[in-house]
């Protein structure tokens, strides 16, 4: 058909291929994701200094626009923005406020009067950050902090950072993602990121009620059995299981889920001896993961939080940089000394 909707990459990138919004990992290039991880590495170093702040985004205003509240994610973005010397405004807009007649578009127009340079958006609807990115004033960057079941790209990049930190790279890696993939925006972003960065195999493990209907089309191998799915993997990523899944007949009980898919030391034996265990958090002990694993030697769950700020600093500075460069077309690679 004559219809050609713009693929996500065209919204996210400038004409010369720089990141200007970060909405989804899908369709981005390997080199761009690697640049992101390298830049994040520099920011990890900043976090270890006496003064944990750089002047990069001095005078910029970052608005955390959270339509779904999440103190944890919002705090990481807030800290990241502050370490870049930006001014931060936190707005928690609950669903009830927007249902009073003010549309998302109205909210957006009001905020633009504040001359924000960046919106960090979390929304319950898949695609909301794409909508916002298409509607904002040119020059304003949009970062997706989680939309519906669609994507959570900064979390996925933090996970990639963690994997690279412990495994050195992605070549030859087998990664298993376990649990409620159907409802997980993190899992979708992780799958894209792992495939782009060159992982050998991405596996999904779970009961069929918690796997998307066309899961294989994402570029993964699907397993319904933990022992088979975990065999010889280098990385195990456990997903959080929401309690309400039991009420809507996805599962009979937490106990049965834990017996079949909960990660304990016994199941972890099937993975490689040096396999690491990750979890985007917050964890449900005894539901998807046993304490012996969560607190065990192969768990890297706490370090994931530390790297989170650095990854978000990298994403924010790259996106603002991309916006600046598309506003200043004269800009070149030449950095005058």
């Amino acid at each position: 058909m004559t219809l050609a909707p713009p693929p996500s990459s065209r919204v996210q990138l400038t004409d010369d291929g720089k990141l200007r919004h970060f909405l989804s990992v899908e369709h981005l290039s390997r080199s761009l994701l690697e640049d992101m991880l390298d830049t994040a590495a520099s920011f990890v170093d900043v976090g270890g200094r006496a003064i944990k702040k750089v002047p990069l985004l001095r005078g910029k205003t970052v608005v955390n626009l959270f339509f779904e509240s999440s103190t944890r994610t919002r705090s990481t973005f807030e800290l990241a923005a502050k370490r870049l010397s930006a001014d931060v405004l936190n707005l928690d807009i609950s669903k009830s406020a927007t249902s009073k007649g003010e549309t998302l578009l109205d909210t957006l127009r009001n905020l633009e009067a504040m001359a924000a340079d960046m919106f960090v958006v979390r929304h319950q609807d898949s695609g909301a950050p794409f909508f916002i990115a298409n509607e904002v004033t040119p020059g304003v960057a949009v970062i997706n902090a989680g939309d519906g079941r669609h994507a959570h790209p900064t979390q996925a990049m933090l996970d990639m950072y963690t994997i690279r930190h412990y495994k050195g790279g992605f070549d030859g890696l087998r990664v298993a993602i376990v649990g409620d993939v159907l409802h997980s925006r993190v899992a979708r972003s992780q799958i894209h990121a792992l495939n782009i960065l060159g992982a050998e195999e991405v596996r999904l493990i779970g009961p069929r009620t918690l796997l998307p209907v066309a899961a294989e089309s994402l570029g993964v191998t699907v397993f319904n059995d933990m022992a088979q799915g975990l065999r010889d993997v280098d990385v195990v990523i456990m997903l959080r299981l929401q309690k309400e899944r039991m009420d809507s007949a996805f599962l009979p009980s937490e106990a049965e889920f834990f017996r079949l898919y909960g990660l304990n030391n016994e199941k972890l034996r099937h993975a490689k001896p040096d396999a690491i265990v990750m979890h985007p958090g917050p964890i449900n002990r005894g539901v998807e993961i046993a304490s012996e694993v969560a607190d065990g030697p192969r768990s890297v769950i706490l370090n994931q939080v530390t790297f989170g700020i650095a990854v978000r600093m990298a994403v924010m500075s790259m996106a603002i940089s991309g916006q600046e460069s598309s506003q200043n077309p004269e800009q070149g690679e030449d950095h005058g000394r």
Binding site: K18, D35, T39, S42, I51, P55, L56, N328, G336, R337
Partner: protein, 171 residues
């Protein structure tokens, strides 16, 4: 105008001599600015009687032209494997142009701690100064017109040449 390996080598040797004169028995910690400055710092260090503590800075996060030029494509982590508080530092860069990079580097150093002193060593000073920053140690001083600058290629062998740069209207 070009400088071959031997010519660069001679300038490095002269700089090492100046360094010894400046600091005597207690050599400073060398801090090279990524990426050319880091090469020069390393080459300089190899010429010292006893090797000094060596670090490197990537000043990307401190540049004053982020608004117009954006972020460099790849940023390397800064690496200062010594205590900055109370240290005597020698900041090393390949080419001194406007002085803005040096200002950014000093800002970054102060976020690590409060050094006892900072001096500046450059391989070339090409006379495009825009800030009151001058080298304490210099391989060669030039007076290039605005449309020219020196480019150092490395890390080994180190060679350099004068290249033309397009002059932009707002600069």
């Amino acid at each position: 105008m070009r400088w071959n390996e031997a010519e660069i080598d001679a300038r490095l040797a002269a700089m090492a001599e100046q360094l010894a004169d400046e600091y005597g028995e207690a050599p400073p910690a060398l801090v090279g600015i990524q990426s050319g400055g880091a090469w020069v710092a390393e080459a300089l260090n190899a010429r010292l009687a006893s090797p000094a503590p060596l670090g490197s800075l990537d000043v990307s996060f401190y540049r004053d032209d982020f608004d117009t030029r954006g972020l460099k494509r790849t940023v390397k982590p800064s690496d200062l494997p010594f205590e900055v508080d109370g240290a005597h530092l020698l900041l090393v860069d390949d080419v001194l142009m406007t002085g803005r990079t040096i200002r950014a580097a000093m800002n970054e150093l102060f976020d690590y701690g409060r050094p006892a002193s900072i001096r500046l060593a450059v391989l070339f000073d090409i006379g495009h100064r825009e800030l009151p920053i001058r080298p304490d140690i210099c391989g060669e001083t030039l007076a290039l017109p605005p449309h020219q600058r020196v480019e150092l290629r490395g890390p080994a062998p180190l060679v350099a040449e004068v290249i033309e740069i397009p002059v932009k209207a707002d600069e």
